[in-house]
Amino acid sequence: MGNNPEINKKIQVEVENLSKTFPGGIRAVDEVSFRVYEGEIFGFLGPNGAGKSTIMMILTTLLKPSSGKAFINGINVSANPQQVRMNIGYVSQELSVDDMLTGRENLWLQGGFYGIPAEERKARIAEVLHLVGLEERKNSKVETYSGGMKKRLDIAAGLLHRPRILFLDEPTLGLDIQTRSEIWRYISGLRQKEGMTIFLTTHYMEEADRICDRIGIIDHGRLLTVESPSNLKKEMGGDLIRFTLNSEMGDAQTERALERLRSIPAIRKIVEVDGGKGEYSALTASGEETLPLFFAALQETGSSVGRVTLKTPSLDDVFLSYTGRDLREEKVHKDQGLQERFTRRRLQS
C-alpha cells in the first residue's frame, strides 16, 4: 500500500477491546482492537486456535461478544445485526455450498435469501460465475466439483449481493498449492475490479505475505501487532541468531546465560522457540558484529552453545518473534486437526 491508510481511507471495520469467553471458560478473544480500511486486503495471521474464526464470527453476527464493541460501516454489530448482514459477505472456514444442488441453484438460493429480484439475480449470477470461472459447470451438481471449484463457488455466493466487505475465513484451507494460488488470484482480482474491502484469516505465512496489504498477528486470542508485511519484515531489521545452549546446563545457569545475553545492547530481543527443545532466537541489527559479543557473553557466564545459525528474517521469524512460536512447526491441536481433515475430506469428495 505504501501510503498511510489512516489519512485517506474510510474505516470499514472498527473493533474496540473485543473479548469472547466461551462457556467453559476458554478465552478465545482477549481485548482485541483494530481497524480495517476501505479497499484494503486485511489479514489475520495466527496458528490454529488463535481466535481468528471467533473474531470473524462476531463480526459476521454469528456470535455475540462477551465484551467490547465492533462496528461494520459504522453499524454496531451486536445492536443492529440485521443491518450489518446486508453489508457483508461471509465465506466460512468450512465449505457451505449445498452439494446436492447445482452451482447455479446454490447461487439462485443465495440471491433469494438476499431478496434480489429474479431478473437482476440472473444477471448477477452470470457475472459472479464468470468472475470465478465456473460458467461451464454451473448446471452440474456441486458434489461433482473439485475442492477448488467448490471453494470458488462459495466465494461467488459471498459476492452475489455485492457486499462492501467480504469476510473470508481461511479461504485456502486444505487446498493444494496450485488451487491456493488460483484462489489468491481471484481474491486480488476482486479488490482490483470491485474495489471491495477484504478481510481474511489464514495460518499460511505465504498467503499473508503475498496478498495482504496489512497483517494482524494473533495468538492466544490477543492481537500482537498490525502492520504491512514489508514493514513487519523491515521492523525486524538486521539478522537472527538462532542457537541452542549446551544441554547439560541446569535451569539456573540457562537463565543466567540468557539474562547476560539480553543485556547486550545490540541484541534487541530473545525468544524461545516453542517446542524447539531449548532453541532460542535472538534478534540483532547486525549478525556479524554481534556474534563475537554473543560468544564472549556466554563464556563469561561459563556457558557453552550447542548449535548456532545466522539468518535474515522472513515473515516466519516475524511471527516467531511476536509469539515465540514457529508457525511452520505448529503442532495442530487434535480437535482442530480433525476439523481440518473433515474440511479437507469435504473438499476432496
Binding site: L63, E94, S96, D98, L109, G112, Y114, G115
Partner: protein, 262 residues
Amino acid sequence: MLSIYLNSTYYVCWRELKRFFRQKTRIIMALFQPLLWLVLMGNMMAGLTDNPYAARLLGVDNYLLFMTPGVMVMSALFGGVFNGVSLIWDRRLGFLQKMLTSPLPRFSIPLGKLAAIVLQITLQMIIILLVARFLGVHMATGLPGALVMLVFCALFATVMGGISLALATAIKTPETLFTVVNFLTMPLIFSSNAIFPREAMPSWLQIVADYNPVSYTVLPMRSLATSGWIWPDLLLGLGVLLLANAAVFLLLFNRFEKTQLI
C-alpha cells in the same frame, strides 16, 4: 415484512424439496415404509376381524379400514420427527451459518423446513390413501373425508417436526437427536390408539392413551374412516392440534430468534 417472510420461507422450502427429490432412497423409503405397514399389518391382522369379539373392539369388520388412519399418522410422525436432523446437518456443513449471516429472518428457517415436510407428507398420504383404496378400503366419508384427513396429518406433522427442530437448536449431533427422538416416539405410538383400539388396552394404558397427542389425531381420522362426520371427535382433534401447533410455533420463534443457533 410479511412478503419478506413469505419469500424467505419459500426459498428455505425450495431447497428442502430439491434435496428431497434428488435423494432417490429417501423417496423410496418415504413411500415404501407406510405401504409395508399397510400390507403387512393388514394381512397379519386380517384374521382378527374374523373373530367377532375383536371385530367389535375395532368397531369395523375390516382391519385395514381401522389401520389406515393409524398408518397415516405414524407416517406423518416419522416424517416429521426427524426434521431436526436437517438442521443439525446444515449446522455441520456450514449452510446454517450461510443462512444466519444473510438477512433471512431466522424464524423462516423452521417455517420453510416445516412447509417442505408438510408437502412431502401430503404426497405420501395421498399415495397411502390410493393404495388403501386399491386394497378395498372405503372411507365412510368418501373423498371429502380423505381431504380432511390430510389436513389433520399436516397439523400433526408440523407439531412433531416443530418439536424436532426445536430440539435440534440445542442438540448438536444427529446421533443424540436420533436417540432422543426414538425415546419419545416409540412410547408415543404404542401408548396411542394408532395400532390397537383403546378398548383393547389395559386400563392404565387407556389413561396414557387418553393424554397422548397421537390419539387426538387418530381419533377424528378414524371417525372419518369408519363412522362418518362425528363433529365432537373432529372438533376435539382440531382443537388439540391447533393448541399444540400454537405452542410449538411459539417455542420455535423463541428458539430461532432469541438463541444462538450455532
